[in-house]
Symmetry: C2
Subunit: 330 residues, 2 copies
């Protein structure tokens, strides 16, 4: 058994059992990958994949178990490389995070800019998705960090650290009736208008909906998007009243007026998570502190050393979690 064979195996799985595509991603020849897979199967005496004709058709039961073990192996291989790179003070490498649109568009740019100034030779990769997709990506080891909001429960292999809290804000065109209300806008006011807001997460973070239902109200959500910019576009078109994260409203933008909604909806928490068994590069510690200044290397290391998330939460309980209203200047 060779590490290359396992690497090839995982590439095949990641590319939908397409050997040609796997070879392309591995920057090697297709027959080589094919042959190494055959050699691995021969050595183990086990079919890892089921075949339909010559093409790979599916993963066998044993194959799935083998793939799982191979993933562990390759993770530990990169851990070893990370340990070595850290010790050599190597300031190059790669770094991938998965996050939501709001973070990627409004919060991260200034952070990443500072980060890239400090580490110009680190290739940075941002994946985008829903909170669930994000957590899955980091749990599967496809990305180094996940930055998401909402519950994020049920990932025991992750260390999750609180980054900052934020509120929602109501966005309307400048001539909208809601701008005429002198007092604090209430949920009762909102239900009279069609709403445009984020796609709801399946379990957690539906604090948006429950805020209404707790008062016996039913919001009239006419449009949802994962993307605050899309929401804003539809609000400008007059399709409805927007409800977005306050970070997503940079300044008084063309045609749009923001209305404070902090009393209407519960406060949200953005957290960052990484696999507990991952060795972090030194630049990842610096990124964390750029993103959330209270996450010092010491805090992170002690959270990383904790046996599980319960202990992590005990550790971060004393921390003052920042509150973020608007984006800070780049």
């Amino acid at each position: 058994m060779k590490l290359q064979q396992l690497r090839y195996l995982l590439a095949i799985v990641e590319n939908g059992l397409n050997i040609t595509a796997a070879a392309d991603r591995l920057f090697t020849s297709q027959p080589g990958v094919s042959k190494q897979l055959r050699l691995l199967e021969d050595e183990l005496g086990v079919q890892i994949f089921t075949r339909k004709g010559k093409s790979l058709d599916g993963i066998t039961e044993a194959g799935q178990e083998i793939v799982t073990r191979a993933e562990v192996i390759m993770r530990e291989v990169s851990n070893i490389k990370n340990i070595a790179s850290n010790l050599r003070d190597d300031r190059s490498g790669s770094f991938s995070i998965a996050t939501t649109h709001t973070q990627a568009r409004y919060v991260l740019p200034s952070v990443i800019q500072k980060f890239r100034q400090r580490f110009p030779n680190v290739s940075f990769n941002v994946h985008q998705g829903t909170s669930e997709q994000i957590a899955d990506l980091v749990a599967a080891g496809q990305v180094d960090f996940a930055i998401a909001s909402g519950s994020g429960q049920g990932f025991p292999e992750l260390v999750q650290l609180p980054c900052f809290e934020w509120d929602r804000v109501i966005l309307v065109p400048g001539d909208h009736p809601l701008t005429k209300i002198k007092a604090q806008v209430s949920l009762q006011d909102l239900v009279h208008f069609p709403l445009v807001t984020y796609v709801f997460s399946k379990d957690g973070e539906s604090s948006f909906e429950t805020a209404f239902t707790d008062q016996g109200l039913t919001p009239d959500v006419v449009f949802t998007a994962r993307d605050a910019d899309v929401i804003k576009t539809y609000v400008r078109m007059g399709m409805g009243v927007g409800v977005v994260a306050s970070m997503a409203h940079e300044q008084e933008e063309e045609e749009l007026v923001s209305i404070d909604a902090r009393t209407l909806f519960p406060r949200c928490l953005t957290w960052i998570g990484f696999r507990r068994d991952a060795v972090l590069r030194d630049y990842m510690f610096e990124f964390l502190q750029l993103f959330a200044p209270h996450l010092t290397p010491e805090i992170i290391r002690s959270a990383h050393a904790a046996p599980d998330q319960t202990h992590v939460e005990r550790l971060v309980n004393n921390l003052q979690i920042p509150f973020r209203s608007r984006i800070t200047a780049g």
Copy 2:
């Protein structure tokens, strides 16, 4: 990085940083091992070992971390091989257990005999030590199973299953005053004689001592050994009264008489443990059931799937744990 390099690395560590010894155990040439170590260090750009002259002198801090990761990798490699071997119905392989003298000498022979009849091509290896050494060996992945008595707490990486309970027995020469006592011998009777018994474990299993101290008594232990046979020899010599596991007294042996001590000392539990992240060969399941018939493959699999030992204990709570007084006929 190659798997061989990691295998060589671990062999060097296991052989006390002696490359020649490592090469011997690996059945390869010494310069080959030396070169692969150098290549690994060069590729990582890190000194794994400190040198004194040309000889390896110690492991660096980073080296220790790398070794730990390499151990994980090699464990997962054998797990993959085990998965494959199981699927192929391969009835050959190797199997190592660590246990105490009493188990190895009095309990295991008949089990191993049956096992070897069923699996003549499995090479069987028994290591011997104290309960602590045993638990350490299996936790470090040096052996597949640990069979020990006493607490065995504090090994979260292990699945520990109860095998059977047993009592102690008092051994004396045939003409000893204790044999004249008509009623049940008591601890008060025992303190008047010099005692010969097992070496006490550091923390758990000192139920021997606490049995006395709970009654305000102080036993006069004049000799301890890890080995029931040694204890018996000294009892025959008249050095004192022996207290051993009841399994260690096969039948009315030459010169020795056994006195029931089950009411004097708390009952002991013998457990068997293996790493939670290990893939067990099919023959290991059969061994477990030969050793402890209540440990069926289904029980073992569900215990193995449990997230931690707390869950395992909940699972085995309903099981009827056998009691073992004398060894069962081979």
